[in-house]
Amino acid sequence: MADARDMTADPPARPPLAGGAPTAAATRPAAALRRQRPRGAWLVPTLYILFLLLPIYWLVNMSFKSNQEILGAFSLWPQQPTLRNYMVIFTDPAWYSGYINSIIYVVLNTVISVSVALPAAYAFSRYRFLGDKHLFFWLLTNRMAPPAVFALPFFQLYSAFGLIDTHIAVAIAHCLFNVPLAVWILEGFMSGVPKEIDETAYIDGYSFPRFFLRIFMPLIASGIGVAAFFCFMFSWVELLIARTLTTTDAKPIAATMTRTVSASGLDWGVLAAAGVLTIIPGALVIWFVRNYIAKGFALGRV
């Protein structure tokens, strides 16, 4: 009796014969489509990429030229390639300390943002509390004000606490917009993990901290990576607050680059080399999260 009843609920698996036919049929139109693609279809994307890469190419191009060549005749590539510009940056403390300062506060900020956002995102993802949805949305509104709005109060506040021109000042200031972002990204990734996994761990006997570190964090590792990447990027490219809160000891590279008008005029080549070196960290970091970056832009909600 049971057999026949269950048969109605669960139809038997499709015979293997039927499975093969549609796949063969499906590949045929795809192949046909490929053949029908108009000639010259490669042209549009190629032009697009060329257009995007042109300014970057020009920056790299300039960084290997001397100032005379840059200001002289137009040339598509360096006629007398030189590494002098890079030598200046790697030997002059005024230049390379800018990179070190930037990296210090960016890494500090990334660590603070992600470690603060992890428990916050867990709370938003797993618990219902009074006003949780409003609070969650309010977090994001912090990103809607231009940083310039916060420059003045930050300067006054950090002066009062004697934090001006320290790395931690910039790192904490950047939390204003990085923590909400990290919370949103992590909440998206966390909500993709069924709550039953948490409960199974508790039933198995895991304490909350142990469950969070041993089971949960590995599950959302890609989310943590993406959140860290976004924190890194936004902190790295932010100029206004970083410049306001620093003078010399913690001066970021972007600030150094904007203050390089000397008596002899602009040092074009060195500036170009500095620009190239500024792009590199972002390019390196994005490599590690390239597979998850789209999900990150969707705040983990794909």
Partner: protein, 359 residues
């Protein structure tokens, strides 16, 4: 011994569980039977300690454990969805409760391999759960529940998401696997047939209330009220409102069938008369079968059986007939009700004379 005393669970303004009292003895298999949203999962979560009751208390071996954290409850639970730790291997998934309990390596290895053998997971121990089929994933979850040797094992529709063949297989094995452990088993299901196949005790749930609790066959054969009878019937229970007058049931004043002997002593009045679909037959198989004239609306052939939907006056009946019957719609047929299994319920839905009815 697990005791629930007047447990109520309210979420917002909705009562998920209403005043449930239940006592489960060690070494028993207890089925929670009810349709979706009847409160099976809510009740299990209360038993596990994942949720706290709004009112009432939960006792284990006479000790009040109502507020005790789930980590300290010594329970195991398997969900309907296949829940495992995706980043750990199958081996580590099964070993997880033992690792947390700080068992030594040799014990862990022995227990994991024993459970894996029992559930035929041996070849997959080094894979991660997501690389396995659904059935293997659920077996991993079951293996984790086995190694824990918990005093209370909660299985929340563990076979619902599995394909037919695997479900059959695991359903046979489950009682055997868990039989020796002496734990209390609670098994939630929506399917009356699963409850009957598992045996043990059954508690029927409806809208957050336990309508009846007792040995499974007892609940099935002698439901105390109409709600229990309906819950424990698949295909749906056949019911019709009839007036009993002496030795006959009347419908709109006209006699439609005689009152069977075991119900003869019931006082006259209007009752809901009910019988299971398999107690309707085309041919009179038992002495005292009551013939009724009905009209076929649809006949569904499922292979070895036929579901015949019948119209009888304003009522709709379902007949579960063995064999294949090619009945055209609108055919007039005479079907036979097995009178011995006729049930009567009064206006409040309570069973009338349930103890007098023959098995």
């Amino acid at each position: 011994m697990l005791e629930l005393r007047n447990v109520t669970k309210r979420v917002g303004r909705v009562d998920h569980i209403r005043d449930v009292s239940l006592a489960l003895r060690p070494g028993t298999l207890n089925v929670l039977l009810g349709p979706t949203l009847s409160g099976k999962t809510s009740l299990m979560r209360l038993m596990a300690g994942l949720d706290q009751p709004t009112a009432g208390s939960i006792h284990v071996e006479g000790r009040d454990v109502t507020g005790v954290a789930v980590q300290k409850r010594n329970v195991a639970m398997v969900y309907q969805q296949f829940i495992n730790y995706p980043t750990l291997t199958v081996y580590e998934n099964i070993a997880s409760p033992l690792r947390v309990a700080r068992a030594d390596a040799a014990t862990i290895d022995r227990e994991v391999r024993r459970a894996a053998d029992l559930l035929r997971l041996g070849p997959y121990l080094e894979r991660t759960p997501l690389a396995l089929s659904g059935g293997q994933q659920q077996r991993t979850a079951l293996a984790r529940a086995i190694v824990k040797k918990a005093g209370l094992v909660l299985l929340d529709e563990p076979l619902a998401n599995l394909d037919y063949k695997l479900r059959e297989e695991l359903r046979e094995e489950l009682p055997r696997i868990f039989a020796q452990s002496g734990a209390i088993f609670v098994y939630a299901t929506t399917e009356p047939q699963e409850a009957l196949l598992l045996g043990g005790n059954t508690a029927t749930l409806s809208e957050g209330r336990i309508t009846q609790f007792g040995p499974t066959t007892e609940v099935f054969r002698r439901p105390l009220d109409l709600v229990t009878a309906r819950t424990f019937a698949d295909p749906p229970l056949n019911t019709i409102s009839l007036e009993k007058a002496g030795g006959a049931f009347l419908l709109d004043g006209a006699p439609v069938m005689p009152v069977p002997a075991h119900l003869a002593a019931v006082a006259d009045g209007t009752y809901t008369v009910a019988f299971q679909p398999h107690h309707l037959a085309l041919a009179a198989q038992t002495p005292g079968a009551i013939p009724i004239r009905a009209k076929v609306t649809v006949a569904e052939i499922t292979g070895s059986e036929t579901f015949v939907h019948l119209a009888f006056a304003d009522a709709r009946f379902v007949m579960l007939a063995p064999g294949i019957h090619d009945l055209e719609p609108d055919t007039a047929v005479v079907v036979h009700v097995d009178a011995r299994h006729l049930m009567m319920f009064d206006g409040a839905g309570r069973a009338v004379l349930p103890t007098l009815r023959a098995a």
